[in-house]
């Protein structure tokens, strides 16, 4: 198992085992090396080494364990598409995999089944187009997002007509708009969109993040607390500005 910083801010937990006890002991040991650094930091769980055994992993338990260890669980990545439902059902958002290395497939079968390989290529092209279109679709949430609840918009913006509570979490691949008080955690651009922004009518968030760069908003961090604000990313830095 590895626990390392990526994109300068986001911790990624690369799982090599499905044994929750073993995992939690290792995380605890890692955390105890530099506790101040990891305290309350968001963590993404990468399952690409254990996709075949993912069923054996107690995902709910893992989330509880990370929370107990004072991490902020953000999402799971590195899973097969057909595992997505199972992962989501256990309360984890699914994030897109990390930057792909080379994906050239072994070409042994290609000569014997040329038709099939051509079809596969065509399919993936269509899929890419579809997801590009989806990226502009936003989701409108009419009810407050209460403590313990999570909203995850995989493709597009999250538009919240009321408030979010302390202890809630809103994530979107695009921007997040809150037409009320923002009091929980909010993560925009969760698939890496550095142009995503966070808008709110009253800024009181516990944590803000754009494209993996995050900041805990403690008392006194900004004089815009309780005021309309917009948050954007400038290089590696989150900029909080008044929303006029």
């Amino acid at each position: 198992m590895e626990l390392k910083g990526e994109m300068s801010m986001l911790n990624v937990l690369h799982l090599q085992s499905t044994d929750l006890k073993e995992i939690s002991q290792q995380i605890e040991a890692k955390r105890d090396e530099v506790p101040a650094f990891f305290l309350n930091s968001p963590v993404v769980v990468d399952c690409s080494s254990i996709t075949d055994d993912l069923k054996k992993l107690d995902l709910k338990g893992l989330k509880a364990c990370l929370t107990d260890l004072m991490f902020v669980p953000v999402g799971v990545r590195g899973i097969e598409p057909e595992q997505q439902a199972m992962v989501t059902k256990s309360g984890w958002p699914v994030l897109r995999a990390g930057p792909k290395k080379s994906t050239s497939k072994p070409s042994g079968k290609e000569s014997s089944k040329p038709d099939e390989s051509a079809k596969t290529d065509g399919d993936s092209e269509i899929q890419a187009q579809v997801s590009e279109e989806k990226a502009t679709i936003s989701r409108i949430i009419e009810k407050p997002v209460r403590s313990g609840q999570q909203v995850f918009v995989d493709e597009g913006d999250a538009v919240l007509l009321t408030h979010t509570s302390a202890g809630s979490e809103v994530m979107a691949s695009g921007s997040v708009h809150v037409y009320g008080a923002l009091r929980g955690r909010v993560l925009a651009g969760v698939h890496g969109d550095t142009n995503a922004r966070i808008f709110c009518r009253s800024l009181d968030a516990e944590l803000i993040a754009i494209a993996g760069r995050y900041q805990l908003l403690d008392e006194g961090d900004t004089d815009l607390r309780g005021k309309p604000a917009v948050i954007r990313l400038d290089g590696e830095k989150l900029i909080i500005e008044a929303l006029e």
């Binding site: 009810k143 313990g148 509570s165």
Partner: protein, 268 residues
């Protein structure tokens, strides 16, 4: 049309059972046929506060298990017409409450012409609390003026609007905030959250504010719901809350520190 009301909070000991007893008694006093059900299986408190503990023969779980009929288990109140109590079992655990069982009891009460079915929820967000809120049309969320209680109420509101039957069918449960054990002195002293703060955090309509009052303990010791104590501030505040629940526009009382002195009260 029957309405199912859950009295819930998340946090324990905030005044759910006290409020359930007062609200059910208040509704029945207005001539509305009301049943109050104790969902706190294993603890059984409602019958004590309602003063009917010695009349309990069968309970909610007996009815669900088919060991008794609903008619046998329901206790008719002797003080107020139209009021019936369905006590919890002291000996079973919360798993005894099944969704089908609870639904059939609620449906039978509806068919019996009850106007209101008040469900006294246990604390927590586990099975018992979930069963109490699952069939609710309206929720009275009981909150004490402290941060942990408000946070738990927020959680319960999230569960109500996502996992209740009404929510699953795309509707929403009508929400009411009932702040209990309110002490204006302690709010002024900064030890407690003010009503304004709580309403701002939860953003749901305020049904009532029940002051901290010694008469609540007295009432529960004597087995008579505090709403029947017309001289107590808590009793009056519950009566006001019932009027508001039924659509009347009643100003809130007992929210500010009482001014000392007779003349100051008259002229100040």
């Amino acid at each position: 049309m029957s309405k199912v009301i859950v009295v819930t909070s998340g946090k324990g000991g905030v005044g759910k059972t006290t409020s359930s007893a007062a609200i059910a008694t208040g509704l029945a006093s207005k001539g509305l046929k009301t049943a109050v059900i104790d969902f706190d299986v294993g603890l059984r408190n409602l019958d004590l506060i309602m003063g009917v503990e010695r009349r309990v023969v069968y309970d909610f779980v007996n009815v669900i298990n088919g060991e008794a009929t609903l008619k046998q288990a329901m206790i008719k109140d002797k003080r107020v017409d139209n009021l019936f109590i369905l006590p919890a079992s002291q000996t079973r655990d919360k798993d005894a409450l099944t969704e089908d069982g609870v639904e059939s009891v609620i449906n039978e009460l509806k068919a019996d012409g009850f106007d209101y079915i008040v469900c006294d929820s246990p604390a927590g967000i586990e099975k018992g609390a979930f069963m109490a809120l699952y069939f609710a049309d309206e929720a009275i969320v009981v909150t004490n003026p402290e941060v942990s209680s408000v946070r738990d109420s927020d959680r319960i509101l999230g569960i109500l609007q996502s996992r209740s039957k009404v929510a699953e069918e795309g509707g929403s449960v009508k929400e009411h905030l009932l702040v209990t054990r309110y002490s204006p002195e302690r709010v002024e002293g900064g030890d407690m959250l003010s009503v304004e703060d709580i309403v701002e955090i939860l953003s749901i309509p305020l049904l009532g504010v029940i002051p901290e009052s010694g008469s609540v303990l007295q009432a529960s010791n004597s087995g008579s719901p505090v709403i029947l104590d017309e001289a107590s501030t808590a009793g009056m505040a519950y009566s006001d809350a019932i009027d508001r629940f039924l659509g009347e526009d009643v100003p809130h009382r007992f929210m500010n520190v009482e001014k000392k002195g007779f003349f100051k009260k008259l002229f100040g």
